[in-house]
Structure formats: structure tokens, C-alpha cells
Symmetry: C2
Amino acid sequence: MRVACPGCEIRNRALCAGLSDAELAPLSALKRRRRFAKGEPVIWAGDENMIFANVVSGVLKLNATTADGREQIVGLMYPADFIGRPYASSTRYNVVALTDAELCVFSRKHFEQALRTYDKLKRLLLQRTLDELDHSREWMLLLGRKTAEEKVASFLVQMARQIGRGGCARSPLDEFVLPLSRAQIADVLGLTIETVSRQMTRLRSAGVIDLPTTRSIRVLNEIALSARAEQG
Amino acid sequence: MRVACPGCEIRNRALCAGLSDAELAPLSALKRRRRFAKGEPVIWAGDENMIFANVVSGVLKLNATTADGREQIVGLMYPADFIGRPYASSTRYNVVALTDAELCVFSRKHFEQALRTYDKLKRLLLQRTLDELDHSREWMLLLGRKTAEEKVASFLVQMARQIGRGGCARSPLDEFVLPLSRAQIADVLGLTIETVSRQMTRLRSAGVIDLPTTRSIRVLNEIALSARAEQG
DNA sequence: CGTATAGTTGAGTGTCGTCAATCCTTGTGG
DNA sequence: CCACAAGGATTGACGACACTCAACTATACG
């Protein structure tokens, strides 16, 4: 028996994991692999020509902006995550590739058709959406009530977990490479570049982390880091 | 033909609106009307004994807290909104009645059963959850990037819309009663009581709003209010 | 090797938080 | 009906944390 989407890196973790090979086969024919370069926009807020896709590789940001251009990253999408907004004609935020990325793309028509056909798909998307909602509410607590140090510590804890999840290891990593620049971290945390930088060096001075390069983090004291995150 | 849930105030706006009378009938037998007094907790974070319910009347808050007790309101629930967290054993936040409230309650078992049985119900819950996610992301922009004045103005714009939606009128109201105290508004906006109060009086001094009583708002200049909200 | 971009560090400012006093509202009992 | 108490809201003085502006350093890239 042939396996649908042979060689797909995320077959067992993405939404498709809820479908059998037989169920996936017709959908598989409608998908389109598409590459996006670092910095390239995937969806513009308000654009009706929306993309529905699974992230195969890379990291993307969802970001909202005020009228005068201030920016807030409201979500980060990793491999196996789903991008798109069913039941609405457009999204309220932009989606931009933070690294080179590969997506498994469907048209609105095909995806919504599949959503109607496969009950399981709907359930899985609902589960994912509920998880995202929980996550975004946790982030609201961070944005509204945490100090700069707590924000940065929370971000690093979260990052260690997320990067760990993607690889073979299932536990938080003690060393990893940030897929975000300082400016992007600032946009996630509702801070400025300078404040992020200062808090990073403070954590290093305190012996909680080390910064082998500006983009890589080594967690020296996970307990201390979690403590400074005030639950994260 | 008898109508399921006769006299229910939210029959046509809540999740149940997606079900026909025939479909609703068996569910209707399993529901339980329950009243909560102002300030009474409905769900505790981490409690497995979770409630699944439609809000019939009143306003409730979802709030998250840090380990040391700082509080952030991450959601407000109005009549016809749905409360509960399917596919998880507990919620990460508390649900508390802000006013006297009436809920139409189901047990986890019955609700998840219904979710499995009725495809339409799943679709409607997915739609709602996606809407909530959009809303919470919009709020992340507010929490992370807006000034105190913009936060308060955004809150008032939003409130005028929300209260208007509930009544017969479908447009934003120019005068309404706040269901929240200053302290609760502060917890929604990630500010302190004092800052909320100062911004309110600033808006009044500027002739944008009037405050007939501390709990009621009269919008004198909706355009100016929206402008100060930076899109809300 | 030189330029451009990203990141760090420093000095000074401003917005919002803290602490405290006062005012207003609401409810209760004399 | 009024006095009083209690909680909520407002206002003020002050301070701190994070932002702004700026200079400098490190890293990436041609």
C-alpha cells in the first residue's frame, strides 16, 4: 500500500495526521509545495486571496500593526502548524516568513471543502485553535502584567520548549538558536530592542544564560530562568 | 410543533442556534439553568470539574494571574457566549461572574457527546473559537503597543459596540453602563486603577466623553474617541 | 578589507506605577 | 430622614522602569 504524501516531514504532526492515507489521497493531489524566502510576506491583512497551508519548515510570524505603524507579533508558526482563517474572507494580521520556509498550500476552496467533508479534520482544527487561544491568553498576561525581565525570561523558556519539541528530543533544550532578531523579539514582547538587549545581558551577568553568539542561547540555570519568568 | 427551550433568551444567538428544534430536544433535557451571584467564581483554573455553559444573562470575566498575584483579564463573556474548554481536562484561567449572571449549563460528558454527534455544533464552535482568537490577538496589540490613553479609548469603543450588539439596536451606543469597575477595567487593559481614572477624566476634559455617573459613559464625539483608540 | 546591518551600552526623559489623601457613592442602622 | 461607615473613584506628589536618542561595537556580506 502506498503512503499518501510520501516523505512529508510533517505527515504525522500536522492536521493531516488526523486523516488516513486513503482520506488524504484526494487532498494530496490538490496541495502545492511553495517556498518563501526569509522576510517574504505570505498573507497580507485584509487580502482576500488568502493562503491555507501547513508549515513544513521554517518559522513565520503573525503580526498586527497600529495605524501609525507600531507592530506587535501575535503569533509564531512552526513546522506542522496551520496557517489560514476559515470562515472569514480575510485575516486581520500579516503573515511573514522569519526564515526561509516551505509551506504545503491549499486553495480556500479546496481546504474548506475538505473541512466540510472530513469530520476529523474539523475536530483537529478546533483542538488546535483552542490551544492557540489558550496560548494567546497566556501571552496577554505576559504583555499586560509582566516586567521586562519576566518577559524576556518567559520568552526564552518558551523558545527552549518550542525548539525542543520540533527536534527528536521532547524536552526543553539547554542550547538553541533563536529564529528571531532582537527587533522581532521586542515585537513579540511589547518592548524595544534596547530593553530586550539589556535584559539579555542582565541574565548573562547573573549567570542564568550564556550568549555564545547573538543568535544562540545557552541556558545555564533553567530553574533560575523559570523563576524569573513567573510561570511561563 | 413545540419549540425546544421555549422562552430561552439566547436560543437564536448562542451555539444552539445552529441546531434545529428536533436536534436540540435531547440536549435540552440535559441542560440546567444555574444562577451565579456577582463576584462568584464559575470555574477555577486547573479544576477538573469544569463547566460547559452558554451565558444567558450577565457578564463574566476570564482572568489569568501570575504566581505573585498580578491579574490580567483575558476575556469577557456576554449573553450567548460559550464557556468551557473541550479537549482539555481543565482551563488555565478562572471564570468569575462580574454581575449577577445566569448560565445554561451542561456536563462535560453531555457536551462532548453533543459535539461528537452534531457536526454543525462543531463547526459553530470552531467559528466562535476563531473569532475569539482574532479578538484576543487584537487585544495583544493593545496590551503590547498602545499607550494608556489609546487603551482606555479602545476599551470604550469596544464596549459601546458590545453593549449595542446585545440590545435591539445593532449599532454602537452613545450612552451605556459599564459592567466593570475601574479595577476590572485596569485588569483588562494592563494598567492601574489610577491610570484608568486619569485617562477617563482626560477624555472628559477634552469633551470626547461625559461621565454622568462613575459607571456610565456618554460618548460625545465618537470620531475623536475612535481616533484616540488608533483603530479599535 | 570595507561597508552595512544588527546588537550593545550609556545618558537623559517621560509615562505610568506607587503611595497617600480626599471625595463620592452606596448601603445600613439609629 | 439623616448619620455614619465602607468601598470605589479621583486627584496629587513622587519615583522607577522602560523608552528615546545617540554613540559605539560586533557581526555578516560582498
